[in-house]
């Protein structure tokens, strides 16, 4: 009975006038919005304007900005000079004065690592792994296996980048930072494959010195941008949402891209698509040769390609274990001829997956699907450091530096 009594008591109160209600709702609306503004940084990612960077010849996030990522993983990245994600301590001018070997690190969002905190990003994991290996080798006095000095990995990976972005930036970064080599993380071979195609016109964009892209983001609260994007953009296509008012029938959604991946690879293999085919052929040689040549056009320094495929992957209740793309051994040989190394993380990823530890995905996304997580970075770092130690060409770089 108590709630009913309360209701009666409430209804006997004098009701407010329209004016009073208007005032109370306006104030209440403002307070509600302020509350959202206060709590949204915990849950809403940031939207930053980008500034033109003449050194790299691309748009980057402004230095010292904090870039929050919340939907998959939970981290805030401090943007370093020239858009280096999570590395605020490294300027080109200071580059030559620091002891150690400098590697430029390239890749797409899988390498950028905004899902994890700065000290867990892949570039940091490689440095830490190297330091551990160095310390262990020094302790055991194993001079042969001892990696020399320090390693500094400069993160230039950015979400959405592919072969052409790296192609364009590699010589610029070499000039500015005097890097001794390049590490390139590839999650999908298509990012590399573009290098075998004719150079697109957009590879050398016009300099827009001092320009800022999406300046309005500077004064628009992140939660407003996020809400507007949710309202205006189609979540699947990221294009402007198109409302449908015509009667049905509705057209079925196309199957999810990930679900098709395994089948796609198989189909492409049957079609003899060289990058997905294990068969050696003239076509395959041409493709890998072209990729190697393109990379060598831009740099004569050591390059290590790190292949971190999206496997194992949990999609629609199935674990996809098979390689999404088959690597042609002839292609690896062709790369090697051009002194381009190849590290394949597939086996180590699958081995981890078999024990229930997946290198992709996060608790606030889906374990086993999504971007590389801390474990994935750790596994890659181990493979990379092992390769850098074992391969004489990379050891030479370390020794020359010493």
């Amino acid at each position: 009975m108590k709630p009913r009594l309360a209701a009666n008591a409430s209804s006997s109160r004098p009701t407010r006038t329209i004016g009073q209600r208007l005032v109370s709702w306006t104030i209440g609306g403002i307070v509600g919005t302020l509350l959202i503004a206060a709590v949204s940084p915990w849950t809403v990612r940031s939207y930053l304007p980008q500034v033109w960077d003449d050194v790299r010849g691309r748009w980057v996030y402004p230095e010292s900005a904090a870039y929050r990522w919340r939907s998959e993983g939970y981290a805030t990245t401090t943007v370093g000079p020239h858009g280096m994600m999570g590395r605020p301590d490294w300027r080109p001018s200071a580059s030559s004065t620091r002891p150690g070997t400098r590697w430029a690190f390239w890749g797409d969002s899988q390498a950028e690592g905004v899902c994890v905190s700065d000290d867990q990003k892949l570039w940091a994991a490689i440095e830490q792994q190297w330091a551990r290996s160095h310390a262990a080798a020094t302790k055991t006095q194993d001079q042969k296996a001892s990696p020399s000095g320090q390693v500094h990995v400069l993160p230039f990976a950015a979400s959405g980048d592919d072969g052409w972005d790296w192609y364009e930036q590699i010589p610029r970064v070499e000039r500015a930072w005097d890097v001794q080599g390049h590490l390139i993380l590839i999650a999908e071979l298509s990012d590399l494959r573009v290098l075998a195609e004719p150079i697109p016109e957009s590879v050398s964009p016009q300099s827009t010195e001092g320009g800022t892209r999406r300046e309005w983001l500077r004064w628009t609260p992140d939660f407003v941008v996020h809400a507007a994007r949710g309202l205006l953009l189609d979540p699947r296509t990221r294009q402007l949402r198109r409302l449908r008012f015509r009667p049905g029938p509705l057209i079925e959604d196309s199957p999810r891209k990930e679900a098709a991946t395994e089948k796609d690879a198989e189909t492409r293999w049957k079609l003899g698509d060289p990058i997905f085919s294990i068969r050696s052929s003239g076509k395959s040689n041409k493709l890998w040769g072209a990729i190697a040549k393109r990379l060598r056009e831009q740099s004569d320094r050591p390059i290590l390609l790190i292949y971190a495929p999206l496997r194992p992957l949990i999609v629609d209740g199935r674990v996809l274990w098979k390689r999404p793309e088959t690597i042609d051994p002839v292609g690896i040989d062709l790369l090697a001829e051009q002194h381009i190394g190849w590290v394949d993380c597939y086996e180590i990823f699958v081995k981890a997956g078999r024990t229930g530890r997946f290198p992709h995905g996060f608790h606030n996304g889906q374990i086993g699907n999504g971007h590389l997580n801390t474990l994935g970075y750790h596994l890659i770092a181990e493979q990379v450091c092992k390769r850098l130690q074992e391969d004489s060409r990379y050891r030479l770089v370390q020794q020359a530096d010493r």
């Binding site: 509600g32 509350l35 959202i36 949710g230």
Partner: protein, 476 residues
Amino acid sequence: MNFTQIEFLIFLVVVVTVAWIPRQVVWRNRWLLLASYYFYAYWDIRFCALLILSTSVDYFAARRIDGSDDPRHRRLWLVVSICTNLGVLGLFKYFHFFIDTARPILEQLGVATPGAERDVWTIVLPVGISFFTFQTLSYTADVYRRKISASHRPLDFALYVAFFPQLVAGPIVRAAHLLPQLSEIPAFSRRRFYGGFQQLLRGAVKKVLIADRLAETVDVVFASPELYSTPSVWLAVVAYTGQIYYDFSGYTDMAIGVAKLLGYRFPVNFRHPYLATSIQQFWRRWHITLSTWLRDYLYIPLGGSRGSRPRVAANLMITMTLGGLWHGAAMTFVLWGVWHGAALVVQRFASAWTFARGTTSGGRTGFQFPAVGWCLTITVVMAGWVLFRSPSLAVAGQVFAGLLGYHRSGIQWWPPLTLLALALMLLDHLLWRTRLRRTMRLPIDAWYSPVVTVFAIWALLLFAPRGFRPFVYFQF
């Protein structure tokens, strides 16, 4: 059209605005009927033919029943109505299920069945067919029992069947409740309009912020439960317990809210069923309009609680099994119904036994110790949800194996937003038991109402999972 789509919001604003303009009920009802058919055609314009068929048959059958004193004639028209409605339901919803179930027998008899060539036999399930079929069936049955008179206004009746807020997922509104409301223009009440808006918002919050968040975990784990560790499987089952409630009660809140915006009242469909301390209580709080429908049109005609114990048990089992089958054409739904039927039978006889021994105070729906009753009830309900959610019995078996601790080395997955949604669910249930229950309705002049309302609208815009997720009960 989904209640959480932007298109629906635009549609609703137009419909509500125009609906309050006419001074004559006929124009208002024409407008609402047009809007309701458009709402249904939004899925598939072909489905409207079914709606017209069901409406026409039941309108004329009820007229014939009402206009006759000959019991045979009345019964004949009742049978026509039942056969048409159940025939449509059987064809569109259960055809493949019955064929698949009967295939082994039919094949032994040498009867060819559609199997491999199933594509030729593809039948699309019209949205909400179970709801409007039950609604029209109850109308004819009530006219037959002389509980109500047959409607003489085809427009009102057509609107009663097709009224868009409750067309696709209930609540199942009886003709005696809605038809009188449709016969006149409702008086506009600002308080009711505001209440409708708040209920619409509350439903959206339940659906989008709680149910859809929980679904993100549930869908993944139920797709391959063998991959996940025992704690993660438990989390998914608890999450589904929350998802199904907040999804469906969210939809119901939105439907009731939309009806209020138009000036109509719908019956209550949920009363925090997870607070029930017995399975009988649970069914008095869960999907109330369906459980009362099953009681009035199935359980009682079968004999109800009268008769011997085996007879009552059989009545309960038949009612609940058919209730399970109503939800979907799959063995998992049938077993879910059987499970609840068995639980009701056990409870009924256990209560009778303890009452006879004088160990209860005479309350036939609750346990002597509410906490024990609650634990038993929620366990039965959650086990039932495993059957309900699993796409097959094999998957259900894997989920049960996970719950029982056979998945020790699986993936440990603790999605924080799922845990947050479960915490909100717990808070909601705890508050509902206190005096703050009224506060949760956000009275128009309460100081906190605008703050909470604006916060909730922002939260819907910000924290809604990306992507379209239809209501669970749309499939039924």
